[in-house]
Amino acid sequence: MNNLYKNNCRTLLFLTFVIVSTLSIILINYTNYLNTENKISQGFYSNNTVFFRTDYKKMTTTYEALVSKGEDCILFREFGLNYDIRGIYYKGNIEQPKLREGRFLKATDFYNNRKVAVVGQGIMQDDNDRTINLFGNEYEVIGILGVERPSLYDQMIFFNIDSIDLDNIEEGLWAIDGNSNTEIMSNFDIVKDHIRSNGGNVDILEVKQHGVVDMLKYNIVNIGILTIIVVLFSLSSIYVSQLWFDHKKQEFAVVKLVGYESSKKVIFNIIKEFISIATAGASGSILFILILNILGISQIKIDASVIISGMIIIVFCSSMVIPPAISFYNLEVRELLLGEN
C-alpha cells in the first residue's frame, strides 16, 4: 500500500506536469489565436494602433523622417469608405497579414517607382490577370490576402503609399502600428515632431476598431480569469511537488542514517529526480500535443515561445522545492523519521 501510495505520488506529480504544461500550451495558443482572429476582424488594425489626422501637406518629408529615424513600423493611410483600401509604408520586421499566396510588400517596393498591391482573395477574379486598377493607375498584384475561410481580408487592398502624390492628398485618417506600444509611440513621436517643427498640426484620434471580441461584448481572455488560471496552476503544481517531496523525507533520513551518501548529494539527487519528473511531464505534454496534431485532432503550434514558457514553468516549480530541501537538510534523522507521518 505504501509503495502504491509513493508511486501514486510520483504519478500524480508527473501527471500534474503533463496536464499543467498541456493546458499552458493550449492557453498560450488560444490567446494568440484570439489576438489573430480579433486583428483579422479589425481589418489588420491592432488594439495598439495609433490613429491620427494632420493638416500637413508635405507628408513625403514625414515619411522620410520615419525612414531615417523610426523603428520597425507600419504606416497606414485610409482611402476606402469601409477601411478596406489602405496605402502603407512598411519598415523592418513587423507582423504581416495572412496571405494565401505571393508575398507582402517589402522595403524594395517603396520609393522605387513601383506600383504594387496586395489584395484580398475575394477581389481577384481572373487568375491570369495579376493587375488591379486603383485611382486610375495599374498596380501589380504581388500577394493575395486571406485565410482558409472567408474573412474581412478578402475585400481589402494594401498598396505602397509612395505610389500616389502624398503631398497633395486630402485630409484623412492616418495610422501607425508596430510590434509594441513603446515602438508605436516612439514612431508616432517622430511623425508628430516632424510635422510640428514644420508648422503643421497633428491630432491623435480616438478611433476604436471593433472586432469580433467587441461584437461578443465580452473579452474571454480577461486579465482576471488569466490570473486565476495561472495562480491555480502554480498552486496545484507547488502542492503536488510538496506532497512528493514529503515522501522523499524518509528516503533521505534512511540514507543519512546509514551514511551511504552525503546529505548534499542526497538532496541534489532528490532535486535532480524532481526536475527529471517535471521535464518528463513537460516533454510528455509536447509529445501528446504532437500526436494530436499528427492525428489531425488539433492544430496547436509548438514554437520557441511555447517551449520557453514551458521551461519557465518547470524552473518556477523546481525553485519551489529548493526551500523545503534546504530546510530538511538541517533536520536531524530522528526528526525526519518522526515527521514522516
Binding site: 500500500m1 505504501n2 501510495y5 501514486n8 505520488c9 500524480l12 500534474t16 496536464i19 493546458l23 493550449i26 492557453l27 488560444y30 489565436y33 484570439l34 482572429e37 483579422i40 476582424s41 490613429f51 491620427f52 489626422r53 485610409e78 469601409n82 475561410r149 472567408p150 474573412s151 474581412l152 485630409e171 484623412g172 485618417l173 492616418w174 484620434l205 480616438e206 478611433v207 476604436k208 471593433h210 469580433v212 467587441d214 461584437m215 461578443l216 461584448k217 465580452y218 474571454i220 482576471g224 480569469i225 486565476i228 488560471i229 495562480v231 491555480l232 498552486l235 496545484s236 507547488i238 502542492y239 503536488v240 510538496q242 506532497l243 518522526l338 515527521g339 507521518n341
Partner: protein
C-alpha cells in the same frame, strides 16, 4: 519545551496542507463560476447576433428619385401626403417588420462634448461647426429610429427609459426624447436639455436614457456601434406643413423614413417587391426597389464568433475537468495519509458508517470554506454577487465527485496490514 516545539511544528504542517487545498478548491470554484457565467453571456450575445443575421432576412427599400425625377417630385404639392401614405402602409403590414434606422448627422447647439462625437471623426476629417441664426451648432453623429428598431436589435439601456409611443410623434410643445450612446456619460446627464437642428427642424431634446456599452445596429453589411451616437425617434408629423420650411424638413424626414429596412423570415425579395410595387402604386409614387442586404461581412463575423465560442468552451471545459480531477486526487491523497488512523478507529469499534460520516463532514467543511472564499473573491472582483446558484451547484457536484473514491476506499482498508506496517 521540545514537545511544544514538536507539536507546534506538527500543527503548522497539518494546517498548511489543508489551507492550500482549500485555496486550490476556492480558486477552482471561482474559475468555474467565471467560466460558466462568461459562456452564458457569450451564448446570449451570439444568439442575439444570429437572430439578426440568420433568422431574419433583411431587405433595403430604396427610392428611385434621381435627377429630373427628384426635382419634379420635390416640386409636387402632394409629395408629403404620398410619402406619409406609403410610410403608413409599410408600417401597418403585419407580414414583416419595417425598421427605420437613418444615420443622419444632427446639429447640436453649444455642444460641450469632445470631437470624437462629431461626424466624420473616424475618417480623420474635421468638420467645422456651423452658425445658424447666430448660434453655433456642431455636426455630430446621430441615428433616427422607430420603435421596431429598438425591438429588433434589443438595444439595452444602462440608465433611463425608452421613449413612449406618443413621443415618436412631433409635438411642438414637448421635448424630443434623446437616447445617448455610452460614451456620452459624463458629458450629458439624464434630464439635460439639448437644442438640436435636424435637417432644418429646430427642436428641443431631453436626455431620457443612456445605451449600454457596445450596443450596435447593422448598416448594410457593417456593424455600427452606437457608443458615440445621439439617437432621436424618426419623427412622425400629424398635420400638413404650414410653410415652406416645414414642408422642407417633413419631406426629407419622410423620404428618409420610407428608405428603411424590411425584416422578415417568410417573404423573399420577389414577394416584397410585389408588395412594395402595390404600396407605391397606391401612394402614387415612382416604384421603389427592394435590395437584399449584403450579409457577407456579418456572416464572416458570425462564423468567427461561433468558432471562437466553441474553442473557448472546449478550453474552459478542459480546465474545469482538470480542476475536478486535481481536487479529487488531492483529497484522496490527503485521506490516504490518514489510513492508519482510520484503521485504529475501526479497530477501536468505530462503525464504518460513522467513519464515512466523518469523511463526508470533513469534505463538506473543505468545500464550504472554499465556497465562502470564492463568494468573497467574486464579490471583491465584481462588486456584486449574482448567479450564486452556479457556485452552489458546482460545489455540490465537486463534493459528490470528491467523496466517491474515499468512501469506497475506507471500506477496503486492511486493518491488520495498516497496524502491522507501522509498528
Amino acid at each position: 519545551m521540545f514537545n511544544n516545539i514538536q507539536s507546534s511544528t506538527k500543527k503548522s504542517k497539518s494546517i498548511i496542507k489543508p489551507i492550500s487545498l482549500v485555496l486550490i478548491l476556492s480558486l477552482g470554484m471561482t474559475f468555474i463560476y467565471f467560466a460558466i457565467s462568461s459562456f452564458a453571456l457569450l451564448s446570449d450575445n451570439i444568439t442575439r447576433f444570429q437572430r439578426q443575421t440568420r433568422e431574419k432576412m433583411r431587405f433595403q427599400v430604396v427610392d428611385n428619385y434621381f435627377g429630373d425625377d427628384e426635382r419634379i417630385f420635390f416640386d409636387s404639392k402632394d409629395n408629403i401626403i404620398r410619402l406619409k401614405q406609403m410610410y403608413n402602409a409599410l408600417t401597418s403590414d403585419e407580414r414583416y417588420d419595417f425598421v427605420v434606422s437613418t444615420i443622419q448627422p444632427i446639429g447640436v447647439k453649444n455642444f460641450s462634448g469632445s470631437e470624437k462625437f462629431k461626424n466624420m471623426y473616424e475618417r480623420g476629417i474635421h468638420i467645422e461647426d456651423v452658425v445658424i441664426d447666430g448660434e453655433e451648432y456642431s455636426i455630430i453623429k446621430s441615428l433616427q429610429y422607430n420603435r421596431e428598431l429598438l425591438e429588433s436589435y434589443n438595444l439595452s439601456l444602462s440608465d433611463g427609459r425608452y421613449p413612449q409611443d406618443d413621443e415618436y410623434t412631433y409635438n411642438r410643445e414637448a421635448s424630443v426624447p434623446i437616447l445617448l450612446g455610452s460614451d456620452y456619460k459624463g458629458t450629458y446627464y439624464l434630464g439635460d436639455t439639448i437644442e438640436l437642428d435636424y435637417i432644418g427642424l429646430r427642436i428641443r431634446g431631453a436626455v431620457i436614457g443612456f445605451l449600454e456599452e457596445d450596443e450596435y445596429i447593422f448598416d448594410q453589411d457593417s456593424i455600427v456601434y452606437l457608443n458615440r451616437f445621439l439617437l432621436i425617434p424618426s419623427l412622425n408629423f400629424d398635420g400638413l406643413p404650414n410653410d415652406k420650411l416645414e414642408k422642407g424638413y417633413q419631406l426629407r424626414i419622410y423620404l428618409q423614413k420610407v428608405n428603411g429596412t424590411i425584416e422578415t423570415n417568410t417573404l423573399n425579395a420577389n414577394d416584397l417587391q410585389k408588395i412594395i410595387n402595390e404600396i407605391t402604386y397606391n401612394s402614387n409614387l415612382k416604384a421603389f426597389s427592394v435590395i437584399g442586404a449584403n450579409n457577407i461581412n456579418l456572416s464572416i463575423l458570425n462564423m468567427q464568433a461561433n468558432e471562437l465560442f466553441v474553442i473557448s468552451s472546449l478550453i474552459g471545459s478542459l480546465i474545469i475537468i482538470y480542476i475536478i480531477s486535481l481536487v479529487s486526487s488531492l483529497v484522496e491523497v490527503e485521506l490516504r495519509t490518514n489510513t492508519r488512523r482510520y484503521a485504529i478507529e475501526l479497530l477501536c469499534g468505530m462503525s464504518l458508517m460513522r467513519l464515512r460520516q466523518i469523511i463526508i463532514i470533513k469534505i463538506l467543511i473543505f468545500v464550504s470554506m472554499a465556497l465562502m472564499i470564492s463568494l468573497f473573491s467574486i464579490y471583491m472582483i465584481n462588486g456584486y454577487l449574482n448567479h450564486i446558484s452556479i457556485l452552489i451547484l458546482s460545489s455540490f457536484i465537486i463534493s459528490v465527485i470528491v467523496s466517491i473514491k474515499p468512501l469506497t476506499y475506507v471500506g477496503n482498508i486492511n486493518i491488520a496490514q495498516e497496524i502491522r506496517r507501522r509498528i
